[in-house]
């Protein structure tokens, strides 16, 4: 794609998210979401491979349906309350429809089926945008309205997403699909704690974006596609594999990495609010995600490929890493020590 077209699409993508996040009128929010979706479509189908076109169509169908449901919910709200203001959403029917629309936008269970398929049809860099930047606009709406929404519904959707994300990622051989199921599980955490502590939800989102960005920068620099390609990647760049392993453990929520921080604070908050069963279920479902993260680490480090791997050839190839990677690595691994500062801020 011509660089000017790519720049235009990226500018439209960022502008549309800012429009949605800063809007007060439902029409502006919907317009921002639509521009967001439309600017993603050429990026997903950049390669014109049949699978990329299929992913584009699936993305378009789900996002368009979700946007339509969102504007329909706001129209019903305007009909019943004579208000188009976003913060004035009171009737139960529009609230339910809005929740389901946002669930579909975010790829939460039970509307998550499109995310792994779209992830497989796109490139790694576009998948990075889908799992990070594309979450901001819908979550901005849902955070703005968290007081009006059905808390039980949000909590149930969050828990279901955690379980589905962990269970679904178990038998995957493609790394992008694993990251898609990981995204579903992490979004479950964000949405689950939203009714009780929206600040923690925001913290989790920020740290998830940071960890996901780090992971995808490693995947892009080492051109990882399949699980079996991890066997020979340690020959290409051993330090990169060590960092990937630590990032995965951080995403799994293991101390002393950064990923432990949001999960710890959320579980603590749930126990303070006497939701011990929910905390237990959340912890157990995280173990499922941790299992397939550890499987990636196992394949990268603790296995020797049974075939010859052209060792002499591989070490001569220099792996080009992204300029942001060192900074992201430090943030992904070493932020746990600033927990007191985070607690005071949130």
């Amino acid at each position: 794609m011509h660089p000017s077209i790519t720049s235009l699409l990226l500018i439209a993508l960022s502008t549309s998210t800012i429009i949605t996040m800063s809007s007060y009128h439902w029409m502006f929010a919907w317009a921002g979401l639509e521009i967001n979706m439309l600017s993603m479509l050429p990026l997903i189908s950049k390669e014109h491979h049949p699978r990329a076109v299929e992913a584009t169509m699936k993305y378009f169908m789900t996002q368009a349906a979700a946007s339509a449901m969102l504007i329909f919910a706001s129209t019903i709200n305007a009909w019943q309350t004579a208000q188009w203001d976003i913060s004035l959403l009171t009737p139960s029917t529009p609230m339910m429809m809005l929740t389901l629309a946002i669930t579909m936008k975010l790829g939460l269970a039970p509307f998550h089926f499109w995310l792994p398929e779209v992830s497989l049809g796109t490139t790694n860099s576009v998948m990075l945008i889908i799992t990070t930047w594309q979450k901001l606009a819908p979550l901005a709406i849902i955070i703005l309205l968290h007081n009006s929404l059905n808390h039980h519904l949000l909590t149930s959707l969050g828990l279901l997403s955690m379980v589905v994300g962990g269970w679904g990622g178990m038998n995957q051989l493609q790394i992008r699909k694993i990251m898609a199921y990981s995204s579903i599980a992490h979004m479950g955490w964000v949405v689950m704690i939203l009714p009780k502590a929206p600040d923690l939800s925001l913290l989790y989102l920020m740290l998830y974006i940071m960890l996901n960005l780090t992971m995808f920068l490693i995947i892009i620099s080492t051109a990882l596609t399949k699980l079996t390609s991890l066997f020979s990647t340690q020959n290409k760049s051993f330090p990169m594999m060590i960092l990937m392993a630590l990032t995965l453990l951080s995403m799994g929520g293991l101390p002393p990495m950064t990923g432990f921080l949001p999960k710890w604070l959320i579980l603590q908050e749930l126990i303070y609010q006497h939701q011990t069963q929910m905390a237990t279920l959340a912890s157990l479902s995280t173990l499922l995600s941790l299992f397939f993260y550890l499987r990636l680490v196992f394949n990268a480090f603790l296995t020797t490929p049974p075939n010859t791997s052209n060792v002499t050839k591989n070490w001569r190839n220099q792996t080009n890493h992204h300029i942001l990677l060192p900074q992201m690595m430090i943030l992904s691994l070493m932020l746990l020590i600033i927990t007191p500062l985070v607690i005071s801020l949130f």
Binding site: P50, E54, N171, L173, K226, F231, T308
Partner: protein, 300 residues
């Protein structure tokens, strides 16, 4: 009485085929129900005007058997999900370098394949599939005949093929083969010197891609000795309805549905192909091209 009413509705629908009344009547006009699949009618044959309701075979026993079969498939899918992808443990996926997908040792193995020839369109070719000597191989044999059927529409003829059957999961969900951990198709065959084409059908999610096929050639030597033919998957090129496409793409191996062999070398006469097994292998030394077909920009 009911049959009379339905028959009259059917005749009514046939008379008013071109106007919008049949659309308004909808399900009452049974002859106008649009089928979700295409029904091929051989040129020169009469159209099949059997009403849809006459072809239904209503039976409680069939329903019970069908439910039992489908619930069995669901149970198998859940159990397989616990074991690993496609019901095989992850250790197998990580370690395997070769895998035999199809081998022909008994009649059940042959039942997973469909043999066809141009006899479907009125041609004179014949193709048969049977077990080879000592039940150690499959033998595809027959006669190719390029005589064009005289129906006024067909212009070319003369092909024979065998193709693996589509796999279906519980409640008619599509099932795929995931060959993404391999990079080479490995065949052990004994031919007669005729050139064959290997066709791989990947999942067409949208119906406009249903004719897309990835093909490559196979040139077995004639003679008494078996040979092992290895075709890298990157060599397969994309065609649609038999026409090679200008825009070529690498074949993705995670959703394979069928594999087939076709003979269409325009040479009349008998043919024979013996297949021991069809398998996959991961050739670590194959670091050649990622995709061998150069892409030219048509309007740069």
């Amino acid at each position: 009485m009911m049959a009379l009413v339905l028959n009259r509705a059917f005749i009514f629908s046939r008379c008013h085929q071109q106007n919008g009344i049949s659309i308004l009547l909808g399900p009452c006009v049974t002859g106008f129900i649009s089928r979700p699949y295409s029904t091929y009618r051989r040129p020169g044959t009469k159209p099949d005007n059997t009403p849809h309701w006459k072809t239904i075979n209503f039976s409680f026993q069939n329903a019970a058997d069908e439910m039992k079969k489908r619930l069995g498939l669901i149970k198998k899918e859940i159990v397989d999900h616990c074991k690993g992808p496609e019901g095989r443990s992850f250790v197998e996926w990580m370690v395997e370098q070769t895998r035999v997908v199809w081998e022909f040792r008994n009649q059940k193995d042959l039942d997973g394949w469909v043999v066809s020839s141009d006899a479907e369109i009125g041609g004179k070719s014949e193709a048969y599939l049977t077990l080879g000597k000592n039940n150690q191989s499959a033998l595809l044999y027959g006669t190719l005949n390029t005589d064009v059927p005289r129906d006024g529409e067909t212009r070319r003829s003369g092909y024979c093929s065998m193709r693996s059957k589509l796999q279906w999961g519980a409640f008619n969900q599509k099932n795929f083969y995931d060959w993404s951990t391999f990079n080479t198709l490995h065949l052990r065959v004994r031919g007669d010197g005729r050139p064959w084409m290997v066709n791989i059908y990947t999942d067409p999610y949208y119906s406009h891609q249903k004719d897309d096929l990835y093909n490559y050639f196979m040139y077995p030597r004639g003679g008494p000795y078996w040979e092992e033919i290895k075709i890298p998957f990157s060599k397969f090129f994309l065609s649609s309805r038999g026409r090679i496409q200008d825009n070529q793409y690498l074949m993705w191996l995670d959703k394979i549905r069928t594999l087939g062999f076709t003979l269409g070398d325009k040479a009349d006469g008998p043919f024979q192909l013996e297949i021991d097994f069809i398998g996959l292998s991961k050739d670590g030394a194959y670091t050649g091209e990622e995709f061998p077909y150069e892409q030219y920009k048509r309007n740069p």
